[in-house]
Each structure stands twice: as C-alpha cells, then as structure tokens.
C-alpha cells in the first residue's frame, strides 16, 4: 500500500472524514456518562463531558489571547531587528 495514495484518498473525501470526526467527538462524551470514577479530587471529576468543554474553551482562549497580545504588542515586521 502506498501511503501517499491513502492520504490523497482521505483528502479527497473530507466530507466523510468530517462525519467520522463528529461521530468520534460525540462518542467520547457519551462514553463519559458510563465510565466508573474511582478518583475524586476536583468537583468537576464527576461531571461527564467536562474536559470536552474545557478543551474547547482552552483552544479558543489560547488563540484569542495570543492573537490579541501579538496584534497589540508583540508582532513586528520581519526586518525589525535588521534595521
């Protein structure tokens, strides 16, 4: 089997790929309702799907905060240090 061919096939079928991805996302949350929890440290350990929400919020927060820092403060032209 050729890895390149498989990758190209996947890229040509992104719609199917997306559906599979959504199904997996849903599945990880659904499973969370049924697993046994032995370890209680934080209150959110008992909330099914907490880390899904937390992961999503983390991602958005990181992007928004970093982009804002870059835009208003840190970003310079590539020639900045050569001038």
């Amino acid at each position: 089997m050729n890895i390149g061919k498989i990758l190209e096939y996947m890229m040509a079928n992104t719609r199917t790929l997306k559906r599979v991805a959504y199904a997996v996302l849903a599945l990880t949350v659904v499973i969370d309702f049924f697993i046994e929890r032995h370890h209680h440290v934080f209150f959110w350990d008992d909330i099914p799907g907490f880390s899904a929400v937390y992961g999503f919020i983390s991602c958005v927060l990181i992007v928004v905060i970093s982009k804002a820092l870059g835009h208003f403060w840190l970003e310079r032209s590539e020639e900045y240090y050569n001038d």
Binding site: N2, I3, G4, L7, E8, M11, A21, V24, L25, T28, V29, I31, D32, I35, E36, R37, H38, H39, V41, F42, D45, G49, S51, A52, V53, Y54, G55, F56, S58, C59, V60, L61, I62, V63, I65, S66, K67, L69, G70, W73, L74, E75, R76, S77, E78, Y80, Y81
Partner: protein, 581 residues
C-alpha cells in the same frame, strides 16, 4: 582491566578522529560512536566510579544511579538517532560539535560534583554553538554569538554560585542544593537559564531556528534536558518552580500561536514542555519526580522526531515559514506520517509516549490538590495539540498548495525518524519499559478509563476549535518580540539614552563648572592653573592608567580565558581517563 568506562570518552575523544576517515567508512564510524556510548551506558553498573583528587577537590566523573542512568540512556539514544539523521552530512565540524556536545551532556549527567558538572556544562555551550554557526549565513552567525553570550553569562552565574557554596560549606558535591542562601539561588539561576525558564529563555527560540537542519535535532535534545536533570538532582520540591514551570508551559503556548518559522514554533513548545518538567520538580513528590524523568525521556524522542520532520521539510523545500509552505503532503507523505506520530506523542494521545509520561505530572498536581496548576497545565496541553499536532502540520503539509515540489528526504533521515517514531509508539503501548527505569518508587497506571476519556475529550475538542478557527490561524510573515529584545534592541536604546540624556546633562555641568571657576577673574587664574595642572593632569593620568589596564585586561580576557577553559577541560578529561585504570 578497566572496571569503569565513561561513555563520553567515545563521543568526545572519538569525535576528533572523524576527519581521518572518508566516505562510507566515516559514515559508519559516525554511527558507531554513539552505539558504543549507548552500549557502555546499558552495561554500566550502579555505583560511584571515577573519583579523582584534584587540587584538594574530590571530583566524581561517574555517579551512576537510576536517575543518572535514565537520562544517560535517553541521551545516548538521542545521539544515535541524531547521528543516523546526520550521516549524509559532509561537514566534519558539525559531527565533531554534535558529539562533543552529546558527550558533554553525558558528562553532566554522571558528574557527582559541581566542578565536573560546570566544566561539562560550559563545554556543552561551546560545542553546541558550532551547530548554529555551521549554517554559515549571517543570521545564524549573529544568533550563535547571542546564544554564546547568554550561556557565558549563565555560566558565570553558575560558577559564582559554586565558588560561594564551596567557600561557605566546604563541599562541592552535587546533591540537594537548597538552603545555602545566595549560593543556592545563583546555581538555581544558572540551571534555570539552561532549562529556558522565562525570562531567561530567549536564547533557545532565537538560536535553534537558525541552526543547521541536523544540528537543531541535537540542540533540541540536550541542553534543556540536562538542566531538568540538574534541577531534579539539586532542587526537588522547591515550591517556586511549580509556578515558574506552569508559567513556562503557558508562555511557550502563547508564543507558538504567533510563530511563523516552523522550528521557532517547535522551540516555543520545548519551553512549554520543559515547563511541565520544571513544575513537577517543584512538586517534588515521588510521582512528580518520576513524571519529570519520564517526560524528559519521551520528550527527547518525540521532540527530536518533530525537529527531524521540520528539518526534512526545510532541507527539501528550502522554506521554513508557515506562510510560505502548504500542500506538500503529496510529495513527502512518509515524512508527514512520521511527523504526525511525533505530533500525537507530544500532544499526549493515548497509545503514544506523551500520554504515559505527561499525565504522571498532571496526576501529581491533582494528588497535591493544586487546582490552578492542574487547570493551567491542562489548558497548556490543549495548546500543545493545537500547534504541534494541528497548526504546524496543517499549514506545512496540508492547506493551500505553496507550489513547492519536494521529494522525500535521504533514506538515512527517514530511518532516523522511523526509529524515533517506533520508540514513541513502543513506549505509548508498553509504558512499563519506561516505568522500570524511573528513579522513585511510585505506583502509577496511565491507562485508566477516566484518564483516557479525559485526554481524548480535551484533545479532540481542541481539534474542533482548531477547525472552526482555522482561517485565523495561518502563519503571517511577522516576528514577535521576546525577551531577547533587551540585548538586541535594548542595548541600542540605552546608547541613545546616553547620547540624548546623559551627554546633555554632562554638558550642562561643564557649563556650570566653567562659570564658577572662570567667572571670577582672580579665582579664574588660579582656577585655570588648578584646572590645567591638577584636575586635567589627574584626569589624564587616571584615563591613561585605565586605558592601559583596559588593554592589558582585554588581552587577558580574549587570550587567556579560552586557554584557561581549554586547559581546564583538557586536564579534566585526562584526569577522567586516568581514573579509568
């Protein structure tokens, strides 16, 4: 009969024989050296070896316990993988620099006293800078000098700490170093600089992207992780490290969003990942220390893999910026898949090596009920996947076609990546292999249902966020300011301040001086004489002395300091050889 052999002997002394071989033989020799070092480490029995009396100090070249052996093991593997990756390189300087650098990191790992540690510590900096310079372009020459400057300053701080410690306690043994006042803090700062703890981190992201393709693979493995080793040895349970490490983990993530150069992005993620280890050292529990060692072990392998993948792209396309790359997965599919194995490993997906190591540190934070640390470290792991597992590969290999038509890199580079990728999966699937090497006794099971579901949810929903925001995440042709600004621009601004503010104030004083001394006629004549003969004379004399001594001192600094370092390194190496018999 030789009872104990220092593995660095092969790497450091062996390296200088490389120029005597040519072609195929040289390539075989280059791979043979790290193999010999690895075998030596594998056969080494625990205990204290190679103790030498030197000028009243007891130097220990070979303290082999579980902690140093675990690090030495992964350093040798990294040297071997790096050597295979660099096998095709014809520039002998790079091979020598890489092996002296790797050998010195083993020297630090096995050092039982601070003097030996210091010498190998400095040798690492002086050897590794050649891997940056060897690219032979203006940007890398300049970055190399800045790298050397920062490490020289760090080295002086470390040495000052060691000297003070030696004078106040009379001991230079390298064990727990807390509680000795100034000396402890100076040594800690020296260690933190090499671990790239902000604000002492900018040397890393400034210099690594400017190194050669193969050099950066070595650089990514040794400097920061020897510093993690030194921190574990000297400062376990130092509480401030918990917060510094957590800030570090987030700092790297924030700057990685802004990075456009692919190796700079990976460099910021070294800082982020080492942040976890530093935080774990600060926690200091058995589980946390094991976590730091395990994470350092796996990190060296997957970060090497990521740098090898990025290096392959740079070598085959001649481009290193996200804004200039894209769509090359068709031409480099094997590189892409191997890179992704590194990406999944660093992101800590179940069945990959990051999952079985990083989760130990996060669990250690939970055991200590460190709520904020736990939340922030979890947030940073979302950021890790966001950049190293999604943004970088998406805009490099997928995304819009950039027009480049590369081929796969040379076979030896793919083989090196393949070995690293195999180890990433092997450790992920069979973590006990790694756990058996860890120094502390702590029960830990990575694969519990809650862990796996927790990791999958965080990561996959980060992925969802990525694809929702993907339009805003492409690289832009910009650079971002970091603390290297202070020695790149700040110095120039300081000179401006001198010219615009200090000089006018001085002028004003001269005016006042003139009117006071010369305004009065009677006083004036005496004043003039006084001015000419006494004050000017004194000033001139002092100036002449200063100039002369500055000249002498400059000679001492440029000439003898290097000789001094060379003599010191040379004699220590000879001593280490002497200790073998």
């Amino acid at each position: 009969m030789i009872e104990w052999l220092h593995p660095s002997v092969f790497l450091i002394f062996g390296a200088f024989l490389i120029p005597f071989f040519r072609g195929r033989v040289q390539q075989i020799y280059v791979v043979l050296l790290p193999v010999l070092a690895l075998v030596t480490v594998m056969l080494m029995s625990p205990g204290v070896h190679g103790a030498v009396k030197f000028l009243g100090f007891e130097l220990i070249f070979g303290r082999a316990d579980k902690l140093s052996l675990a690090f030495a093991y992964v350093f040798s593997i990294a040297a071997l993988i790096g050597a295979i990756y660099a096998m095709h390189v014809k520039d002998v300087t790079q091979h020598i620099a890489a092996f002296v650098y790797a050998g010195s990191s083993l020297g630090v790992t096995f050092a039982g006293d601070l003097l030996t540690l210091f010498v190998f510590w400095e040798l690492m900096a002086f050897a590794s800078v050649w891997l940056i310079w060897a690219r032979r372009v203006k940007a890398s020459i300049e970055a190399g000098y800045r790298y050397l400057l920062v490490h020289a300053v760090g080295g002086v701080v470390l040495l000052a700490g060691i000297v003070i410690l030696s004078v106040t306690t009379g001991s230079i043994s390298f064990d727990k170093l807390q509680g000795h006042g100034v000396a402890s803090y100076l040594i800690l700062i020296g260690f933190m600089l090499n671990a790239a703890v902000p604000p002492l981190h900018a040397w890393l992201t400034d210099a690594y992207p400017e190194a050669t393709v193969t050099g950066a693979v070595f650089l990514s493995a040794f400097t920061t992780k020897t510093a993690v080793y030194a921190l574990i040895r000297g400062y376990p349970g130092t509480e401030i490290l918990i917060w510094l490490g957590t800030i570090m983990a987030l700092y790297g993530v924030v700057f990685a969003v802004l990075a456009n150069d692919i190796r700079r992005l990976l460099g910021y993620h070294i800082i982020s990942q080492v942040g976890y280890m530093v935080a774990a050292v600060g926690m200091g529990t058995a589980l946390a220390i094991n976590g730091a060692v395990a994470h350092a072990f796996t990190h060296i392998l997957y970060k090497g893999l990521l740098f090898m993948g990025a290096g392959a792209v740079i070598q085959m396309t001649g481009r290193s910026k996200l804004s200039e790359l894209g769509g090359i997965y068709r031409y480099m599919p094997v590189t892409f898949v191997l890179y992704m194995i590194g990406g999944f490993s660093i992101s800590a997906f179940p069945l990959f090596s990051g999952f079985v190591s990083k989760s130990m540190e996060v669990s250690a934070a939970a055991d200590l009920h460190l709520t904020w640390i736990w939340l922030l470290l979890s947030l940073a792991s979302a950021g890790t996947f966001l950049h190293t597992g999604l943004k970088l590969p998406y805009f490099t290999f997928l995304g819009d076609d950039c027009g480049a038509r590369p081929t796969e890199p040379p076979r030896n580079m793919l083989v090196a990546m393949g070995i690293a990728a195999f180890l990433c999966i092997f450790i992920g699937v069979y973590p006990d292999w790694l756990y058996n090497m860890l120094p502390e006794k702590a029960e830990y099971h990575a694969y519990t249902a809650t862990h796996v579901v927790w990791a999958l949810q965080i990561l996959l929903f980060t992925g969802l966020g990525f694809f929702m925001l993907v339009k805003h995440l492409g690289g832009s042709p910009m650079i971002s300011l970091d603390t290297d600004w202070f020695y790149r621009k700040g110095a120039a601004l300081f000179m401006q301040f001198v010219y615009r503010v200090v000089v006018p104030i001085e002028d004003w004083f001269i005016q006042v001086y003139r009117s006071v001394f010369r305004g009065n006629l009677v006083m004036g004549i005496k004043g003039l004489w006084l001015d000419k003969h006494v004050i000017d004379g004194a000033v001139n004399a002092i100036a002449a002395v200063v100039v002369r001594w500055a000249g002498v001192l400059r000679q001492v600094q440029t000439g003898q300091l290097q000789q001094y370092a060379l003599v010191m390194v040379g004699s220590l190496l000879i001593l280490s050889l002497y200790s073998l018999f």
